[in-house]
């Protein structure tokens, strides 16, 4: 297991101090850590387990249960493409294929230049404007291949 970097350790400790007195705090703490670091480092597991009086297996079990938590650093940008039915009804499968080809990755992978991590998502709640994509927390509706490329170009342009 890779040891935590000092800055990572500081983040984990600080969030524990802030949140551990809340009832059932583990998921809240994981959100806070990922919010700062972009992922949950493996080395955080024993620290969280000890401070919250849980087994390492329990902490690991929670992190791996939820799709949202990542155990590896993502690319600079995260692109989520909706795979659910409403988007499929509007050409979502073609958009998925386009996104993968365009970025040269499969779902859960990061493009070779480290810029973009592609993730599937099951419904973004934008079903009257399908297909939907979320990029770094910003929602986009009625996304076709051309619009997808334009959104990527915006990212590269530093917007």
């Amino acid at each position: 297991m890779q040891a935590l970097l000092p800055a990572q350790r500081e983040t984990v400790r600080r969030q524990l101090t802030l949140l551990k007195s809340q009832p059932g705090p583990l998921i809240e703490i994981l959100h806070a850590i990922q919010g700062e670091l972009g992922f949950i480092p493996e080395g955080a597991v024993p620290l969280l387990a000890e401070e919250l009086n849980l087994s390492r297996a329990e902490v690991h079990g929670v992190i791996t249960f939820y799709h949202f938590f990542r155990r590896h650093p993502p690319g600079r940008h995260t692109v989520q493409v909706c795979r659910a039915e409403s988007c499929q009804a509007m050409g979502g499968a073609a958009l998925e294929a386009h996104a993968k080809a365009r970025l040269g990755v499969d779902f859960h992978e990061t493009s070779a230049d480290g810029e973009v991590t592609l993730e599937p998502v099951f419904c973004l709640g934008n079903c009257s404007c399908s297909p939907a994509v979320m990029i770094d927390g910003e929602l986009h509706g009625r996304v076709d291949a051309a619009r997808f490329d334009a959104l990527l170009a915006d990212l590269k342009g530093g917007r």
């Binding site: 009832p23 059932g24 705090p25 583990l26 998921i27 809240e28 994981l30 959100h31 329990e58 079990g61 929670v62 249960f65 939820y66 799709h67 949202f68 938590f69 659910a84 039915e85 409403s86 988007c87 499929q88 009804a89 509007m90 998502v121 099951f122 419904c123 973004l124 709640g125 934008n126 079903c127 009257s128 404007c129 399908s130 939907a132 979320m134 927390g137 910003e138 929602l139 986009h140 509706g141 009625r142």
Partner: protein
């Protein structure tokens, strides 16, 4: 002069932020004084970004607006309702909107979602004030009498849940709101939380007063960052205004409320799984009994209600149980926010009394398919809902009528598909989704869904004979009867309905 530009996520997804910016910049550059209000959406998503201006006759709508159109709107004097090709007339006279019966969504798109004062100015908190004059039993009775049933999908009478919690003695009780709206085709919860969060806050407060719970949690899915920000800000404003906390509205009553984020697990929309997640654990389903109303969050009596159920409570308390109950048909009382999604020309939210038919919704409101091709099927009620063929589009949307044709209403989302849909692919997807989202606790769901994907793959590849299809049917029966919760137990609905109504998509596929 007030101008309204929605901050609802759907409107933002179509460029509302850039429109808002263009309007402010134009106004600043030309020394025009206007107040920009960032409201929720009116639910006519096909017109978003929908810009509204106030007039003596009511709000006037312009849409869909792009930033490039903004100078032209000013030139046409839209601030005074001037004519322009994008002008839709009075918002509330637009047929799509006018024919609705907005009870729960009465203020969505109207109020400033971040202002408790604006909520009160539009009649908000009348329900809570009424509740504070009643005994807990009388509040519960009002909810019972209204006929309100759980809008999350299970359709269990809300008042009965509340009565169970009220009657369970305990030092601490909880009110939890299930805002893990994961069903494809649904966005009513999100729209309400982003457009009128105080309505949910008020509903939860009434629930707390009714059953003697002093702590509430909103369990919100992580896919809704916009709703999260809105709720956080609204909760702060509610505390500031004395609508929450130790002595709310100077009543001597306490109710605290916070929002907790989920982490991308569909199963956490199942109530016991949601409670596990709120406690910080893996969202594995609990065996019932005990019911959450007896032994719920942290082992205490707990109300678990959906966003729309709780948000329907203020109007019931304000206007009375009979007022609400008088909408609807049979055992489906009140109104339902129906969400029109997928391949439709005019997607959006339609709040109507129960009883409107699928056909009216798909064609009169939805305008038919967006692609211009014939509609072939709709899926009602999310990924666990049945597929309904065009021959059954005259079915009214109510719990019993849908159940009678082997379908379910769920959370009221309708996803439309045109005739290019491959129903065998959709059946495969249902199994794949179940495999992806299964919590793993029970075998029929965990293993069955994976076997289901494999079988569907063989069917899709055109393996000859009906053996695979027979096996899928048998597997569906096992999942249906042997699963611990609705995920494994209802995944067969889309699969079996697809096979039943669209056998041609399954049989006789050519080998690939």
């Amino acid at each position: 002069m007030k101008v309204f530009v929605p901050r609802d996520a759907a409107a933002l997804s179509l460029g509302a932020e850039a429109v808002a910016r263009a309007i402010s910049e134009y106004a600043d550059a030309h020394n025009l004084r206007l107040t920009l209000v960032r409201n929720g959406t009116r639910g006519m998503t096909w017109l978003e970004p929908l810009v509204e201006v106030e007039s003596a006759r009511g709000r006037i709508a312009y849409g869909p607006v792009t930033p490039a159109e903004v100078p032209g709107l000013f030139a046409a004097d839209f601030l005074r309702g001037g004519p322009h090709p994008l002008c839709q007339g009075l918002t509330e006279e637009i047929a799509y909107f006018k024919q609705q019966q907005r009870l729960t969504f009465a203020r969505v798109g109207v109020v400033d979602p971040l202002s408790a004062a604006d909520y009160v100015a539009h009649g908000g908190y009348a329900g809570l004030k009424q509740a504070l004059t009643l005994t807990p039993a009388a509040i519960v009775q009002a909810v019972l009498d209204s006929g309100l049933r759980g809008r999350g999908g299970a359709a269990f009478p809300t008042g009965i849940k509340w009565k169970t919690v009220l009657d369970a003695p305990a030092p601490q009780k909880y009110v939890t709101c299930n805002a893990d709206e994961g069903d494809s085709g649904t966005f009513a919860d999100r729209m309400l939380m982003e457009g009128d969060p105080f309505c949910l806050i008020e509903g939860m407060t009434i629930a707390g007063i009714a059953v003697g719970a002093t702590q509430g949690y909103i369990y919100l899915r992580a896919e809704y960052p916009h709703a999260y920000r809105t709720l956080k800000a609204a909760l702060e404003d509610a505390y500031r205004g004395g609508f929450l906390g130790a002595n709310l509205l100077d009543s001597g009553r306490r109710f605290d409320l916070e929002v907790r984020l989920g982490a991308g697990a569909y199963i956490c929309g199942e109530e016991t799984s949601m409670l596990e997640s709120l406690e910080g654990r893996r969202g594995e389903v609990r065996v019932r009994p005990p019911l959450p109303a007896i032994k719920g969050l942290f082992g205490q009596p707990t109300i678990v209600n959906n966003v729309i159920s709780l948000s329907s409570v203020p109007v019931i308390l304000e206007k009375g149980a009979a007022y609400y109950r008088d909408f609807g048909v049979g055992k489906s009382r009140g109104t339902l926010p129906i969400q029109l999604a997928g391949n439709l020309k005019r997607g959006g939210l339609v709040e109507r009394a129960f009883g409107v038919t699928l056909r009216e919704l798909l064609y009169d409101y939805g305008g038919g398919s967006a692609s211009g091709r014939p509609l072939r099927a709709v899926q009602v009620g999310g990924p666990l809902g049945a597929y309904i063929p065009a021959s059954q589009f005259d079915t009214p949307v109510d719990y019993e009528a849908l159940s009678a044709i082997g379908a379910l209403l769920g959370h009221g989302g309708i996803v439309a598909f045109d005739d290019t849909v491959d129903m065998a692919q959709m059946a495969r997807y249902a199994m794949e989704f179940c495999a992806e989202e299964s919590c793993g606790k029970c075998t029929p769901c965990r293993i069955g869904s994976t076997r289901g994907v494999e079988l569907m793959d063989r069917i899709l590849q055109g393996e000859p004979g009906d053996a695979n299809l027979d096996l899928v049917q048998e597997l569906c029966e096992t999942m249906l009867h042997g699963s611990l919760c609705g995920l494994g137990g209802m995944t067969p609905f889309p699969v079996q309905s697809a096979i039943k109504h669209f056998p041609e998509d399954f049989r006789g596929r050519t080998r690939q």
